[in-house]
Symmetry: C2
Subunit: 176 residues, 2 copies
């Protein structure tokens, strides 16, 4: 198993032709409905591997010659950006950590979060944050084993979201 | 009231000399203990207004000649970065929206979040996200009036955090 960073010189695994859901994995192969990827494939590729990356990621790739059952070589990934806190300075925000179900139990997720932690340390981040659905006990247990704390349970933090319609309304109201 | 972006050509309001808490406001004046700023002043300034900005913000500044009771001109701010979602592409993450207590009720917070929304729309963001402590009813009401939804209540999202010690341990374990 190789962990390939988005900032490596090598081109990413080829994108499949865009098709309706279940979506092709933008970095090779095709993933099922629980893969947490719904953004159009070419956009996701360009945004990460293009000239002006909007995120960083590591792909977990099978050794040459091996493929998953969909014919792809990528079986997991971690995707992250950097945020900023007036209390802690730069933080790493992990949008997603994913391993295909048939490749779980091989410490691939552990290897991926270690790479995110390395990126965080190298960029001077004091924290790594991510969101987990509160019914995903296995995911929460995994993060807890890595030293993670549930700040919603401990400190009462709730996540608010303004969708695109709300943003457009607000932006249009600005008079300054 | 002027809203001054961190990416304006003009230099930011001068930083006070670093002193122990209560911390000087990095953009001018000095704020009380609820001001949500604890990062060392020169670092916070450099990280936002220096050569390689790590965040964007808008400062709410009093008209020339007016000051707050601490002698500063900045009475509020909104501070944000960009994250990335495999479902929605680029998002805006609002770390903090703050108005000094004596200047509340004048729609300054509303003007500031409108500027964040403008930034989000101009950068093609489909979402604006932020965290609010669940006991802060006024803050939650404010966000709800702007069209915000509590995704922790609606969808069960919880916030996990790995602190610096956990990050260093994880990073050191990486063998790939």
């Amino acid at each position: 198993m190789a962990l390939v960073p988005s900032h490596s010189a090598a081109p990413p695994p080829r994108c499949a032709t865009p098709v309706p859901p279940p979506f092709p994995h933008p970095w090779g192969g095709s993933l099922g409905p629980d893969e947490c990827l719904s953004f159009p494939c070419p956009v996701l590729r360009e945004d990460g591997f293009g000239a002006r990356p909007q995120y960083e990621c590591y792909l977990a790739e099978l050794p040459p010659g091996q493929t998953n059952k969909e014919g792809g070589s990528v079986v997991g990934y971690v995707l992250f950006t950097y945020t900023y806190s007036t209390w802690k300075g730069r933080n790493l925000y992990m949008d997603n950590l994913y391993v295909q179900p048939q490749f779980r139990g091989q410490k691939i997720g552990k290897r991926l979060i270690e790479k995110a932690a390395q990126a965080a340390v190298s960029k001077g981040c004091g924290q790594l944050r991510m969101h987990v659905a509160n019914w995903k006990a296995k995911d929460k247990d995994f993060l807890a084993r890595q030293g993670g704390e549930d700040l919603t349970a401990k400190e009462g933090w709730t996540l608010f979201n303004l969708d695109e319609d709300a943003l457009r309304r607000l932006a249009a109201q600005s008079t300054i």
